[in-house]
């Protein structure tokens, strides 16, 4: 077997000072002060002083990462937000350069993230196929030969000569995906964490990934969904704070990932550098799990209610914001999703939230969850507008079932929920 990707001591350093030096134009005073200092900033920028000053504020997104991927291998990459997964993929697809270290890649790297890049709403479907193909590095002859296949796959034959701005969003996405799917790269990179689109689309991505792997091509797969990682990959690497901390058979790697750094005693605190700059103006502070007495806990009793708490700061007013959580099992199956403005009256009351410090909390009722380990993810978004912040694995906790229904029998019960149901037993004969 030959090596498809060889990564040697790869490091990437980002400057983080930039986001903090940005001026806030909240008050007229800020604007005036800013204007007065403009010549000073210009002088600094021209003489390069600003650059040097920023040098203390660096963060290593990747640090001395080395690994090889064999041809035809499907490798999973797991890690928390900010562990360096996306940076690694960006370097592999040459979007950004490493600070140190080298990578040798045998073959063309394609990514399902690129769907629709370079699509222009005024161009027709046909024109966009050629345009997008060229952007992805296809030769015109190559696009010619696959054109019919792409059109058939996208199911938009009738509208192929209509400007794509008249397409429904589904048609648009299908066409974009069809082009990316026919690129036939030797190495395919799938970053599910960043993938756009609905569940159907994500399913299509995974399907395509499976096909590519079957054809014996190399695949790198990033996901927060452990069941997808387990299903689709045989081997995985675990990244933590920019370093590769583990490589092994997927089952082992996933267990290692889930058990390390997850049990943070019922509390997850986000440091400033862990929050991506594009989360602004939303700034997560902490997520906590509390018992009835208000103590932070990492093991909760199934028969007691438990409080989920999100603490955050808004640096600017936001309208339509919803802060909520995903509850999922450790195998990646979702149990439920809930947002703080799900209730219509709540939504009306908090339609626009002013800048400030907030806590959104809710109570999970007693007799809800079955025995096991669960994870809580955070999502802060404005529906249809933007997702400000997401961390699918913010917090992990255990559920203890002592006293729950059915515990008189020492047997594991199937399913993630364990409600206390009101059984009636009636003798009919």
């Amino acid at each position: 077997m030959s090596i498809a990707i060889s990564v040697n001591n790869l490091s990437k350093r980002y400057r983080i000072g930039a986001a903090e030096t940005k001026f806030r134009y909240n008050m007229l005073r800020d604007v005036l002060v800013d204007t007065v200092y403009a010549p000073v900033r210009l002088a600094k920028a021209l003489t390069g002083r600003a650059e040097r000053k920023g040098e203390q504020n660096f963060v290593w997104a990747l640090k001395d990462v080395s690994f090889d991927v064999e041809e035809g291998q499907v490798l999973g990459i797991v890690g928390r937000n900010g562990a360096g997964k996306s940076t690694l993929l960006k370097i592999l697809s040459r979007v950004t350069e490493p600070t140190r270290g080298t990578v040798t890649v045998r073959g063309r790297v394609g990514s399902l993230l690129e769907v629709g890049t370079g699509f222009h709403p005024e161009l027709t479907g046909r024109e966009n196929i050629y345009m997008n193909g060229a952007i992805l590095g296809m030769k015109r002859a190559e696009i010619d030969s696959k054109f019919d296949e792409i059109v058939a796959f996208s199911e938009v034959e009738q509208f192929i000569d209509t400007p794509v701005k008249r397409y429904s969003s589904g048609m648009y996405l299908r066409l974009a995906f069809a082009v990316a799917a026919h690129l036939e790269p030797e190495i395919l990179v799938v970053d599910e964490v960043l993938a756009v689109g609905d569940a159907e689309f994500q399913k299509k991505c995974l399907g395509k990934m499976g096909d590519v792997a079957q054809q014996g091509r190399t695949v790198l797969f990033v996901s927060h969904n452990m069941s997808a990682i387990l299903r689709l990959t045989q081997e995985a690497i675990v990244l933590n704070k920019g370093q590769l901390i583990m490589r092994g058979p997927t089952q082992q790697a996933v267990d290692f990932y889930l058990s390390s750094g997850q049990a943070q005693a019922g509390e997850r605190i986000w440091e400033a550098e862990e929050v991506p700059p594009n989360a602004a103006p939303f700034r997560p502070i902490a997520m906590r799990l509390k018992d009835q007495k208000g103590r932070v806990v990492d093991t909760v009793r199934s028969i007691e209610p438990v409080t989920v708490e999100m603490e955050y700061r808004l640096e600017a007013p936001l309208s339509g914001l919803r802060v909520g959580f995903y509850l999922s099992t450790m195998r990646g199956e979702y149990v439920m999703t809930s947002f703080d403005t799900d209730d219509a009256s709540q939504y009306e009351k908090h339609g626009t939230r002013n800048a400030g410090h907030y806590i959104s909390r809710c109570t999970l009722p007693a007799d809800l969850l079955n025995e096991g380990r669960y994870s809580l993810g955070v999502n802060a978004s404005s529906f249809g507008v933007r997702r400000y912040f997401q961390d699918e694995q913010a917090l992990a906790f255990n559920v203890d079932i002592s006293g729950a229904p059915g515990t008189q029998w020492a047997e594991p019960r199937q399913g993630p929920i364990r409600p206390r149901l009101d059984w009636k037993i009636e003798k009919v004969e």
Partner: protein, 278 residues
């Protein structure tokens, strides 16, 4: 499915002014074509007058100039009818301004491409500049009409001198666009400075007036502006006005080439951080 030997790509930090990576530019040459084609195709979509805008802009400017500088100010034009005189200059000037405006904004305008996929970033400012050539060609038809109307016949050598001066205009525009587009990635001040810059530059270029009004001792300093060389060259090649190639032209050429080469290196040195800072 055809089987071909996969290409091997080495990814490493590029240091210094090392490779301009012209090889990749060559591999992606079709993308330049597609970007230009898209630019041209899209630019006048959903407009009533369409491609006519490529003509309307310089013609209207020419009419205003004719009124102001010919009828009112009575500027000297070395015996050439003022409409032809100014239109000859407005053509390369229009090319330059379009290239500058589109080129300087090209990286930021395509930031979704820059942050998602690899391709030689040079393609973006380059194709913006080339797309301006299409407008130039359309407006050129009007110039031919004007020249026929005013009975101005160029010398035969126009066939090779004009393309060379056009090349000089493209070199200048590309060089400046490379500098500004790369700076624009980090400092959006460029967006605000552009209208001012182009206006200022117009005064420094003999578009509305004749370069002959510049006194002899300032000629060399004046031609540090490569566009002065371009405009004078266009007038000389098409209308036979002025002295033709002399020392001041070579000053313009040298500056233009310096801007382009320094622009290429500056662009390349900033290219590696585009995706991170844009």
């Amino acid at each position: 499915m055809e089987i071909h030997e996969p290409t091997i790509i080495y990814i490493k930090p590029t240091t210094g002014l090392a490779a301009l990576n012209l090889r990749d530019l060559w591999i992606y040459r079709e993308l330049v074509f597609f970007m230009v084609w898209r630019d041209v195709k899209v630019r006048y979509k959903q407009t009533l007058l369409g491609m006519a805008w490529a003509v309307i802009q310089p013609v209207m400017t020419m009419l205003v100039f004719t009124f102001l500088f010919d009828k009112v100010a009575k500027l000297p034009t070395e015996g050439i009818p003022y409409p032809v005189f100014s239109f000859t200059a407005l053509l390369p000037w229009g090319l330059f301004v379009t290239a500058l405006n589109q080129g300087s904004r090209s990286l930021v305008a395509h930031n979704n491409m820059v942050t998602k996929i690899y391709f030689p970033r040079l393609i973006l400012p380059m194709s913006s500049v080339f797309a301006g050539l299409v407008d130039f060609a359309i407006a050129f038809v009007i110039l031919i009409g004007l020249m026929l109307y005013y009975h101005v016949t160029p010398a035969w050598n126009v066939l090779w001198t004009l393309p060379l001066f056009l090349l000089l205009a493209v070199i200048t525009a590309l060089g400046v666009a490379l500098w500004l587009s790369a700076i624009n990635v980090q400092y959006r001040d460029v967006n605000h400075a552009l209208p001012f810059l182009t206006q200022f530059w117009l005064f420094l270029t003999p578009v509305a007036y004749s370069a002959s009004i510049i006194s002899e001792k300032w000629r060399i300093v004046y031609s540090l502006n490569p566009m002065a060389g371009v405009v004078n060259g266009f007038r000389w090649a098409l209308l036979g006005s002025g002295n033709g190639p002399d020392l001041s032209l070579w000053v313009s050429v040298t500056i233009a080439v310096l801007i382009l080469i320094s622009g290429l290196f500056y662009f390349r040195s900033m290219e590696k951080t585009f995706a991170d800072t844009i």
